[in-house]
Amino acid sequence: MVDQSAVGRAFTPVTARVEPGRLRFFLDTLGETNPVYRDEAAAPVPPTYLFCLEMMDATVPFEFLTALGIDLARVLHGEQRFDYHAPVVIGDTLTFHPRVASVTDKKGGAMTLIVVDTPVTNQNGIHVADVSRTIVVRNARPS
């Protein structure tokens, strides 16, 4: 089980480019037809897309789970938050810096909530966003 020693732990930064082709795949998958996203010269990214970029270009998929010894099959997404500080558009190259912010046991240890905070910077070093995810680990019953 993950304990307080995980708090503060940082994982490998992920660098991802906002590419028009794979953004189009995302938009089409969601049935998104809003023309604001289709200007390939300077379209903004959809509000949840930062989450995807980090996963797409991670060199080690689900690194924070394997690093903390968590079984992927026991994980649910509890909460998700985005704070946007500056525009992110097609062509940008973003760097994600994930770090464990908190670990909380719930229901007498039946579940553990882990918050991973991820500041995001762009190719000019501008802090464009903060992404925060809370995952819920369904712990195995003690035998």
């Binding site: 795949f25 995302f26 969601l30 996203y37 509000p47 797409m56 938050r81 985005f82 946007y84």
Partner: protein
């Protein structure tokens, strides 16, 4: 909305989406980079104790984000957060809504706080969230 300031209680976000299919989950797996097999591989899902595959929370939040940016330009969203209240099953027909709960001055600009929900066809809340937008 730059021309008309919303009032507390106004429902400014409302959108309905087609039922969630296995095909949609497979596409989202590829398009999002979230390759967790629990959303596309029924054998894996059953071994993990679930009756079937189920939707990625972030697919559902993606729909909520789409409903939000139908009403508000992406450049005016300051924050967007949600709690995943319940698992979204295959076949779910989702409705996303956003209601103005507060008008505030923050960061040197006028902003509105929105309460956001995503419900399925039975009215069960799947996502409960919040956005702060610049007016």
């Amino acid at each position: 909305m730059s021309s008309s300031v919303p009032s507390v209680g106004d429902v400014i976000v409302h959108k309905e989406f087609p039922p969630i299919t296995r095909h949609r989950l497979a596409l989202y797996c590829g398009a999002s980079g979230d390759h967790n097999p629990i959303h596309v591989d029924i054998d894996f899902a059953k071994a993990a104790g679930f009756p079937d595959v189920f939707a990625h929370g972030m697919l559902v939040m993606g729909y909520l984000g789409q409903a939000l940016t139908d009403a508000v330009a992406p450049s005016r969203i300051r924050s967007f957060s949600t709690r995943f209240a319940a698992i979204t099953q295959l076949g779910a027909k989702l409705t996303c809504e956003g209601t103005v709960t507060e008008l505030i001055e923050q960061g040197g600009e006028q902003r509105a706080k929105l309460a956001l929900t995503t419900k399925d066809q039975n009215g069960e809340i799947k996502l409960a969230g919040e956005a702060i937008i610049a007016l």
